[in-house]
Symmetry: C2
Subunit: 321 residues, 2 copies
Amino acid sequence: VANRRLLLGIDIGGTKVALALGDADGGLLSASRHEAEVARGPDHMLARIVDEAHRLLGAAEGKLEAIGISCGGALDRRRGLVLNPPNLPGWDSVPVVAHLSGALQAPASLDNDANLAALGEHRFGAGRPFANLVYVTVSTGIGGGIISEGKLVRGLSDSAGELGHQTLDPQGPPCGCGNRGCLEALSSGGAIAREARRAVEESPDEGAALLALASGKPDRLAAWMVAQAAAAGDALAAALWHRAMEYLGLGIANVVSILAPQAVIIGGGMIAAGELLLAPVRSAVRSRVRLVPAEEVAILPAALGPDSALRGALALALELA
Amino acid sequence: VANRRLLLGIDIGGTKVALALGDADGGLLSASRHEAEVARGPDHMLARIVDEAHRLLGAAEGKLEAIGISCGGALDRRRGLVLNPPNLPGWDSVPVVAHLSGALQAPASLDNDANLAALGEHRFGAGRPFANLVYVTVSTGIGGGIISEGKLVRGLSDSAGELGHQTLDPQGPPCGCGNRGCLEALSSGGAIAREARRAVEESPDEGAALLALASGKPDRLAAWMVAQAAAAGDALAAALWHRAMEYLGLGIANVVSILAPQAVIIGGGMIAAGELLLAPVRSAVRSRVRLVPAEEVAILPAALGPDSALRGALALALELA
């Protein structure tokens, strides 16, 4: 199979970089993952990616047909530039597409991680049965991607899908984006950790269970600890979790009213909470959404775990090949 | 031009029925409008529509190629049925498409009025320059339609675009849909009139200017009176109007964050308020939307006035022809 057609997907993150080699249909042949080492700068990272790609390609035999690249933060998709993502300090208009396309001798394309996670779940994951879906990532932040009739809805400057920045409480807490009361500022992992810290500092007694999970250090509190303590019956954790999930349900219900998708696929680190997250979201959609047949909207966990965007990068390569 | 190809658009409403005859490109040749006379039932209305269509066709010369039909409320687009819209009492699964297609000897298709208003503005109105837009109708209720890459986003059961039913205040006033705190329950003409009635009954002195516009009868208060009194400097009216427009801006900002459209086109009766409505919406979008380039989103009044859906029905006929 020396002339087999191969595709390469690359997911550039602030902590890890992942590569996946796929066959001509985007099916997964092999993958690798390594530390991002962002402190060493973009040249180092790109050289390491090229090395890893050669290693995967050398073991596979075949011809590389196309490369799909996923990256978070601000991109210029048309020019193939990574602009200046918050998780890649020191990167400023890095020509990732030109560099990797040149070094690996194949056409390449770039898109943001939330869009590619949506595409990955649509092509290879929980979204396969659905031509119209919304992917929501609930992690430190909240983002999303929209698939309509099997295609990504990209919007102005490829910025569609910012459902984490709908305002749900006009006077709510400040959001990293500059607005107040965004869904992300109310329901993300970052928001839950922030509220948990505030609560245990205000009421150390009621916060004892949470503090114990954080080894007594409020700074170490994370959203998963709140989920765990809530599941174990801790009242303060349950109240914090309940409030965040109520807003998450509200935000997802709003997206369902606006787009009437066949499915909402939820990924990101917080989906590890499973039913603790899914049940309140389903309940909010069923109770709040009246003019869209809410009972027909499937609300499902992502199937590809941390690889949604990586598999989406393969799907992007598939579009180029 | 006896063999000229003709298209027919029909807009069935609860108070008026409108017909438009178009050329093969959907360009407007002639139009008519008559009272809906809903009390006389669907058979009467359909017979009258057929008469009017024959009259328009008789004056035009040419061959009818296709018919597009707009109607509010619940429809079955695929089967061509008007189910049971609140503004057409007594209508229950009326086979409008089969009836008009048979009587006028041309293929026909049906869609809801908000979708067709979006399509009409996209093809013939303020939305012509934009492949990606959101149309918002602000009237007694609030509805919408979404155009992505030049096509209507229809969603489950053709129910996409219900942006008036995003929840903006979880404990807010009850909405006609069964939820609470929907955009429609906070910012529609119906909501503004309701709040104005409550306010003048609670504070007749502060409400004197509004009451005068309603001939002293709170029941006659309408949203346009609130806009007019607010523009004239009345404090109570200005407070009511300001609050409603703040939520309208919030709801439209949310849609912009989710879809990043090139344009938001605002139609419906309340757009008669002009800048009094547009300015606060533009301001909310500019201040709330941070991750989409909000300054590039055109926020425009509809160009076709009450005919957005009628022209959209012609655009629908164009797709069939």
